[in-house]
Symmetry: D2
Subunit: 380 residues, 4 copies
């Protein structure tokens, strides 16, 4: 694995490394860790890389690595830069023959995402998008149960993602995370909805197996002087007739990262909260609520494949993240070996999820500031 | 206290009696408990009433009671009939000089509610509306804290009321509760929104001290053949600029009565769940979440006034209900004695809350089925 | 119902009145509410009693009431005085032909409890002991499930009752509750173990249907200057071979009234917490934990008989208390009518439970301060 | 890092690898993964090791590695074999100049642990004992708060560790984990108490900073035919006068891994549950309970040092495990560099904790089956 971004001063890069390395299936072999060459160098050294594999630019990295013999050069690259530096390195990586792992939202614009899709089709390479929350075993078990029809036809979906860290103007204090996320030039046309609303939207579609066809939204800017939405809500209409409510906010003072989804069908419902990620609640119209737990025999094969510890030994965010890397690397390895990846291996977000996310951003922004049009068709 | 409705075959009547009698301040002295005179008689007897105070019609009751000497006749009447039999007995009670306790929604139409308001002004009598959830001590403490500015200016309100009991077509099985609530002739123009959406709306306004000025809504009928909404959601705009999301459903299979409210201001948030009613969560932007508990010294005077047991001895729905009766009866008694009721005594829902509720129903129904108009002004 | 104790300055008397009156089956007709005649008079007046039914002494009350015609005189008396004033009024009440409701511990000494038992047998009268926690519907459902063998043979019982209100020397501040409970002359030989340890012991035997045969204990006095135990723990051995751990403390600073019981058999376990009293958790060796809820169809007949509201409308401490009064009054009424009370009616704690409680106190005190004897047989 | 045990058929070895590799500070360079050379070889290959670093015996590994040049040879060895194969490889590793990471209980007998202590003193090498639960950031914050006196003098400690996986005779089904743990020849003189009671004991001493001086215990064998305790409980007396109750069981059918500790001082209490590991509850005698959360600014420096993600991104068991490896490796590296490790680096369990654990086992077993001696001094 090579890395673009993720210097020692970055947050999400460290998460990616932890997630990638945990399972002893992936090795960090090179990187361009910062636009600042000194930071890149010192970062790479602290990751125990030889100096000749620490690059000043990603262009240089792709060129150099491509010339290394197979088995020595990196197999794939992870791109962990802010949104506006996603497309160029991703496209160049694909053009250089490298598989790609990339953070969401996949690109700055929908058009860029569509270009990546085309390139992936041309090259046959693989792309993983780190919609982390779909990496949780309980989420995968929820998806499997809905698909099996345990809840009956889905009618109602509530998905919410309240955070509180932007309740005050944190971007004015030098906080790097807040700074780029609230800046339209680096984040894109959406703030809160791009950052976390996309996660909520993805989770709803992932578990339900349904697609949003139109939505009604209101986006808000609560903190004075901010240029992008820091809050919003949407009504969702799904392709089977189900209805959804999506809530995302970054000004819910006192909330951490409280992503939660509930889904109700004709026979029962389910509930999952990211902050208590090892429990899947099953609610039934005609019998007691069940508490289904990760790591026990109560979950199915796919969940089990994505679990590392026995019941009662909590797994968390990093393991969910690692599941994306593990399944991606198993898929890449299978393809390299000329084998067909299994369904379990292929269960990680990819280019289609990235495009859906960009479409969601376009749609929710179009709907969210328009007081006279109620329903906006999901951009296709 | 006299009673209209509440025969031994009714649910909510029993609740009203429990709530009224618990504190040994109110005595059941007469009633017309059913449209069926036999049921009325046998019910009254089972409540230990003498036969001459068990009436066949409420008209008869008001006439007879009005002729009894003061001190012997009932002081007030409780009306616990389905929605469409609210207005007539309430108006006649007021015309006969009796105070009134009535269930929500207050009347069948907004116009009727306005007529009651006028009559109350003319007569100086008192009306209590049993929006039960505002009777909980933790809710009252939440209101007091918001009013004191502990959370800062309120920005965001989420209120949700999921139930699951109407996930199947219960009204076809002979269930009386389901039957009238899903019947437009007895329930009014709204189903779920009238039955429980009004509670959610009331709770949001009660705690926040704010008023909804306009809303955007979607109402749904999920169970085939049903004539009224069994589900819905609304975006709310409040008079201080705050934004709200209100969710109410009766088809969330597996949910009981999961009313919950969250409210976030500039400095912090609060959360209260009816099913864990003795805890008020306070969330802070800059320090740990606090778990404030009913019955301890952690809540203020108004909450304490509405609490009967020390911390850790859970109070519940019946005690919340009883708080409305107790404050109503303290107010009526103070007025009878020519005294000014205290703020704590006056803290029960009344005609204004009833009118807001009817306005909410009118507005949410107007907005909820209209795909082309996004925002509807709150009916005034 | 008549009352001994429970003046307007007392805590538990108010609870008893709430619990007794709630169901409109019991009327307060007389009382001697305080050793102070003025307090007794003013209390009785505030409860709307005529002056001739407000007595200065309980002796006077029993004599006067016994001379009133049947139908007018009280049917039973409730004794809500501190422990050292339990036996005399109870015995006199029985001698005067009145049924008795009494708070736990039933008497000051085991011998007194045995005398009451003998008197009850002689007179055929009925006595209810307000071990409140066995009045909760979820507790009754737990008992029924264990009896049906759902958990298999019981092996392990953990029961704990942590409170924190005596973590500091509250009795020195004039607090009446703390004052008599920490005074051996008024409370008896045990402090914490008599006050709340007895509740824990009762709950364990009630739900399991087992009896403690011997125990090993340690009692502690943590607050300097206190004369009775304010903390303790015991290992319990039950008559089927099951083992238990009982914990009771009043110095767990920050705890309210956190009574909790867990019980494990060969096939599964159960858990119930008083502060979340409407949920019974069922844990299974081979399938997901179930959350069984009061007021839904998920509980059995006995639980349903002791429930007043539908699922999701929380009932609490007062309703549990009221269940004891209701079942007691149904039993008394059935007996008066020459009918056999049903099993559900008879399900309230009585003299045998009172005797077990006194035996528990004797045994745990004997064991609790003895560092050289490990196991002490349960006093019989 | 080299490894003894941990073949691809073992559970805890995989956990150790995940924990060690996650932070990109430790590399697996060699191992003897099984007593079965074929399993060792195939395991090592699956971990991407060259064949010449995969050994058939640990003796061979220590000899060969010791001859490799510094920088190439392993720096330390991890021993993840069953209890009875702890001492020999550990002693040989130390004699060969390698630092050691080892699972608990540290050895088969107390005497062996004392020999290791002597050897460590002689060699100046470092040993880490994977008492995982002390690796959780919330546990470290709890320890810091107690040390700062936030709770006042500690009076009461409750620590409990219920599991249910051995509620039936799992060892008869071929389950490897159950098999060695219930076998005195491989597990030692204690079953449940050695396996999980030691964790509970360690956690109590770690957080409180206190030492057990004597205990009273009862050990039980519930599943017929089992040779070692599968359940037990102990009263603990601590060196400051505090009292404790320790509960450990493996027959609590339906429980997963529910380690939980509560501790009460004169001013307040704390509570931590392993299965909700990111929350530390602080309970106060005079103000609301606080929910202190990992990853927020609410915890101190030591907790922060042991945290990888921001608040609301749950960390779990593997991260707690990794904290032991990280602090151990930071300590070893500092020592190698001639630097003094910081307090935060040194905060991992070592030989003293191992000895305390063996003493606990000896004491609790001596006490646990003796019905005539109540208190047994902690073996020193």
């Amino acid at each position: 694995m090579g890395m673009v971004g993720g210097g020692s001063d970055a947050f999400i890069g460290a998460i990616h490394r932890l997630a990638a390395l945990m399972d002893n299936q992936i090795e960090l072999v090179c990187g361009c860790f910062s636009v600042n060459p000194e930071v890149s160098l010192s970062s790479g050294q602290s990751y125990f890389l030889p100096e000749n594999r620490i690059y000043n630019t990603y262009q240089e990295m792709f060129e150099s690595e491509a010339q290394l013999p197979e088995g020595e050069r990196m197999d794939f690259v992870t791109i962990v830069t802010p949104n506006f530096v996603h497309f160029d390195p991703a496209m160049m990586a694909l053009n250089s023959g490298f598989h790609v792992v990339i953070d969401k939202p996949i690109t700055f614009t929908l058009d860029e995402a569509l270009q990546l899709q085309k390139k992936l089709e041309e090259t046959g390479l693989t792309l993983a998008l780190t919609h982390t929350y779909s990496g949780y075993p309980a989420v995968k078990d929820a998806k499997a149960r809905v698909a099996r029809g345990e809840l009956g036809k889905i009618r109602r979906i509530y998905v919410e993602y309240p955070q509180g860290w932007l309740a005050s103007k944190l971007e004015d204090t030098g906080n790097q995370q807040a700074s780029w996320r609230t800046d339209p030039k680096r984040s894109g046309k959406a703030g809160c909805m791009g950052d976390i609303g996309t996660h909520a939207h993805h989770l709803a579609e992932y578990i339900s197996g349904l697609k949003v066809t139109e939505l009604c939204a209101e986006l808000n800017v609560f903190v004075p002087g901010r240029l992008l939405d820091d809050d919003g809500a949407a009504f969702l209409r799904f392709d089977n007739g189900a209805r959804g409510v999506l809530v995302a906010t970054q000004v819910a003072a006192g909330e951490e990262n409280a992503l939660k989804i509930r889904m109700y069908g004709e026979k029962g419902g389910l509930e999952w909260s990211q902050m208590e990620s090892n429990t899947l609640w099953l609610k039934w119209h005609d019998r007691p609520t069940e508490m289904v737990r990760v790591g026990t025999g109560q979950m199915g094969d796919i969940a089990q494949h994505n679990t590392r510890t026995p019941g009662g030994h909590p797994e968390g965010y990093l393991e969910a993240f690692a599941n994306i890397y593990r399944n991606f690397s198993l898929t890449v390895r299978a393809k390299m070996n000329g084998e067909q990846p299994t369904e379990a291996m292929l269960d990680f977000p990819g280019i289609e999820d990235g495009i859906r996310g960009m479409q969601f951003i376009d749609t929710v922004v179009e709907a969210g500031y328009n007081d006279s049009v109620k329903w906006v068709k999901f951009v296709d």
